[in-house]
Symmetry: C2
Subunit: 241 residues, 2 copies
């Protein structure tokens, strides 16, 4: 609020002045003319999602409004409602896009890993790297309270993400993890892995680790801290005499 944007509500402008009704010009444009914004967009839904992603990257979570997305796409402010129902709908579909991007990044994360250690660290590092590269998207996926997981696309993408996590933890523990039942230790391993990486990511994105990073040896990166976090023992003094 309070941003003094000087911008007309619709980027397209009124097509034909209704009341004066100059009957001459036919509504259908005479072909061989640049198709300037036809009434029916054709693929508005996808265009709106792409526009939403741009707005999110440019203006952050706070700037991602239905009307801003409509402006970015060059349609009337009510157009998104028709395709997504409400803001929750748009955010949910966008979150689904994010989860799919995220899943792709996870899937190709251990491609270049050679040693077992590299392999073990590849996923967590890719997780944090995705969030750092797309903080807005990560916010949509994990910070917003307005997500509707009953939407098939979101449910599916999020579940695939969770399945990938379960799988990775199973590989790490060198055991098959069943789809329908978990031992307490298995559940704990999954929850630990997820909590640790997700918590680290949130704290990092919120700048709350600056306090730690600033006290660490000169030039220690978040990645290095993450590595150390994942490798060193959980409790007790560091190894020594």
């Amino acid at each position: 609020m309070g941003k003094s944007e000087i911008r007309t509500e619709t980027a397209r402008g009124a097509r034909t002045p209704k009341k004066p009704s100059a009957p001459a010009r036919p509504a259908r444009r005479p072909a061989s003319v640049k198709p300037e914004a036809p009434y029916h967009h054709g693929a508005l839904r996808e265009a709106l999602l792409r526009a939403a992603e741009r707005v999110l990257e440019r203006d952050g979570l706070a700037g991602l409004t239905l009307r801003a997305v409509a402006r970015e796409a060059g349609v009337s402010h009510a157009a998104p409602t028709h395709h997504f129902g409400d803001l929750t709908g748009l955010l949910s579909e966008l979150a689904a896009v994010g989860f799919r991007q995220f899943n792709a990044a996870m899937a190709s994360s251990s491609d270049t890993a050679t040693t077992p250690l590299e392999h073990a660290l590849a996923r967590p590092k890719a997780y944090v790297a995705y969030a750092q590269a797309h903080p807005g998207m990560y916010g949509i996926m994990f910070r917003t309270e307005r997500l509707d997981y009953s939407r098939p696309s979101l449910h599916e993408a999020a579940e695939a993400s969770f399945a990938g996590l379960t799988n990775a933890v199973g590989m790490m523990r060198q055991e098959q993890i069943s789809g329908d039942a978990l031992t307490l230790n298995q559940g704990a391993a999954i929850a630990r892995a997820w909590s640790m990486v997700h918590g680290f990511t949130m704290l990092l994105l919120d700048g709350r680790l600056e306090d730690i990073l600033g006290r660490l040896p000169e030039g220690t990166t978040p990645e290095r801290l993450l590595e150390a976090m994942l490798m060193s023992p959980v409790t007790g003094k560091p190894p020594g005499p």
Copy 2:
């Protein structure tokens, strides 16, 4: 938006009709009358913070608006602005209240602990318990993007919280942790503890652990999962032949 609340903007009502100006009734109430909403509240700032806490618990983060807080406190919608500057100000001061509550809960968490194990688990359990008891407040403290840490009260309370964490990790590692420099292992230990508990809490509050909890042995509580998460080894197969 869209909620059809039938409610007048100010709960107090206009005190004296300006224009008709019936000059009879004196503005100062004749004493021995219930002090019904004097023009100057006297302690509005604190009253607003308490009102904000009530609104937060009743209507959640989405319902916590400047105007809703003003209504709850029975003052005009612009009154909060005078005391907090803007919404960020109110949220920041409220977050400070939350951090102080949180710090108090942390401080008294290990009071009843007897065994070393109980002592080690007391803080994390109290952490999650606070968030479960005050999900709105935890959201203000860790989910909102509109916090101004340059406000002394918030900065102080949040720093105290961080100091408590550092302290607890130092005790666990049986070593003194200096205030100005950290080894990588120390930083990793702090980041791991915080990330794990914070991540677990966020996922739990967002209902994202239901998937795991539902697959665990019948009746496994989040607390039990947290315990297992904190105790069992980080990597490798569970102990056994």
